[in-house]
Amino acid sequence: MTEVFGVPVPALLGQLMLGLVNGCFYAMLSLGLAIIFGMLNIINFAHGALYMMGAIFTWIALTQFGINYWWSLLLVPLVIAILGVVVERSMLRRLYKLDNLYGLLLTFGIALVTEGLFRHRYGVSGLPYSIPDAFAGAFNLGFMFLPKYRAWVIGASLLTCFATWFVIERTQMGAYLRAATENPKLVQAFGINVPVMITLTYAIGVGLAGLAGVLAAPATQISPLMGTNLIIVVFAVVVIGGMGSILGSIVTGLGLGLIEGLTKVFYSQAANTVVFLIMALVLLVRPTGLFGKER
């Protein structure tokens, strides 16, 4: 069997694939964070909690209401987005004139409340969700087996990321959004309803987190703690990439997922921490982040 540095190639590729799956979640979450930050100037600490809710709602939908994976894929992000509208309208809206630290503190509170409630109801052990029938099994690529579900997660999230990029950078709506990010007052003066745009931006951002949660449901352990553990890594990803560019967030997310996968193969003790170490290194060399501009 072929080996690279003493590691069999299929094992290496398997870990890389797993890393890429994680990278997809990083990309989707950091993309949502970046869009929300651009428009609301708030770092949404509740992002991880909403991702967790996405996964748990998918599980509840199947076990309580018999709603299958495909309907969840459509409905759950919608439900999360509606929750986002409620949160933005009822709470975040009051903070726009204040220091953006308050937004972080408020959303941290929301994250604690949601995590606590779900933890109280469902405990900390993982909830099982089986892979939908269409994606059972694996492709034989000759040099490795690629589980179909992983291929689907990678394909679906790349498509979502690309669609988000396309909407923001290449459509009329996206042009309004970019303009409103630069100068909300002026855009408002042109007769565009900026408050509604802000609400929609938050809804779409958290909807992306919800979608990532649905995709994660069959691929990882569904647990009330899954969100916060992930969001801290995503924060590091955001610091590394900088929040200036959409493609930047996507590339950084995927790249760091791959690096994490590689670390798991060659030095597994550091797999949990490699992203944080890279963050420290980037801060030394390029404090504004790889794709960032100071704002």
Binding site: F37, I43, M91, R94, L95, L98, N100, L101, Y102, L104, L105, L106, F108, G109, I110, A111, L112, V113, T114, E115, G116, L117, R119, H120, T228, I232, V233, F235, A236, V238, V239, Q269, N272, T273, V275, F276, L277, M279, A280, L283, L284, P287, T288
Partner: protein, 315 residues
């Protein structure tokens, strides 16, 4: 003749309460609250007076607790030397983190401190000297100066009170010094402070290290009081707790973090047997309420109310 100021009466009565308290309230509870009060005061030096939100202060608290636990249990140091070692560990960690984190401002500062603290958490989880999930158990409290046995809770209480007062005085002096004035200037308007010729990053780094050192002092004392250290002390929940204490009590006030720490520790110890895991929900709800309804915290709002009432009185 100089009339005694109300502020002086305030400090004196608080000190008196501190001295009598262990005869009325369970000393372990008081020591727990005092450790967190010191921790919150140290945190407030950064958030309230320099405008920097650190979301990873548990790293310093936890690192000092582990260093003290290891020094006292494995190396056989006395409690005073152990606490010193712990505090120094926090100083070293604070200097390294400080140099990294002052390179970014605002919201990034919070995210970076959180991520670095998580790095420390995983380091403690995987290292052998920390005992992994079990932590370090059975740290001897020992004797202070060969004749004060700290096994007695009440004696230990007075030592902890002295440590707290020392930390409090350090912070008080820092805030009310020219150095503290520069920190406030940075909080209010960083570009302006920079244009006036202050080396803003140097000031921020110094404030960060002082804050980390005192957070470490609190953590080191905590290890001696409870005779064990676990991963909880370096957990992000602990970082969140200290943010809440400061926010609830009133950030940027001298007594706010103390009030907040006593309130949160009381709530946690009263509620944890009754509602179990719902404590997190209550903590989160308090965050939301504080941010939406009273951003100045208990002490800040009280001062505001007092000023409004006194200000309106025509005399």
């Amino acid at each position: 003749m100089r009339i005694v100021s109300p502020r002086f009466i305030g400090y004196a009565s608080l000190l008196a309460i501190g001295l009598i308290a262990p005869f009325v309230v369970y000393p372990i509870f008081l020591m727990h609250a005092l450790c967190f009060a010191l921790f919150a005061c140290a945190f407030n030096l950064l958030l309230g007076y320099t405008g920097l939100l650190s979301f990873g202060h548990a790293a310093f608290f936890g690192a000092a607790a582990y260093a003290t636990g290891y020094a006292v249990k494995m190396m056989g140091l006395g409690p005073a030397a152990g606490i010193f070692v712990g505090t120094m560990a926090a100083v070293v960690l604070g200097s390294v983190f400080g140099m990294l984190v002052i390179r970014r401002q605002g919201i990034y500062f919070a995210m970076i401190t959180l991520a670095l603290a998580q790095l420390v958490y995983f380091f403690f989880l995987q290292s052998s000297f920390t005992g992994g999930e079990d932590g370090i158990q059975g740290i001897p409290r020992g004797r202070l100066l060969w004749f004060i046995s700290l096994e007695d809770d009440r004696k230990l209480y007075y030592v902890v009170l002295a440590i707290f007062l020392f930390g409090f005085v350090v912070i008080h002096r820092t805030i009310h010094s020219p150095f503290g004035q520069v920190l406030k200037a940075i909080r209010e308007n960083e570009p302006r402070a920079l244009s006036l010729g202050y080396d803003v990053n140097k000031y921020k780094l110094q404030a960060f290290v002082i804050s980390a050192a005192l957070a470490g002092l609190a953590g080191a004392t905590y290890a001696i009081v409870f005779t064990f250290v676990t991963l909880t002390s370096a957990d992000w929940h602990t970082s969140g707790d200290v943010v809440l204490m400061t926010l609830l009590g009133g950030m940027g006030t001298v007594f706010g973090p103390i009030v907040g720490a006593f309130a949160v520790v009381t709530l946690q110890s009263q509620l944890s047997d009754k509602v179990g895991s719902l404590v997190t929900v209550i903590m989160g709800a308090m965050f939301i309420l504080c941010v939406l309804l009273f951003r100045n915290g208990i002490v800040g709002e009280t001062i505001g109310l007092y000023r409004r009432v006194v200000g309106r009185r025509p005399d």
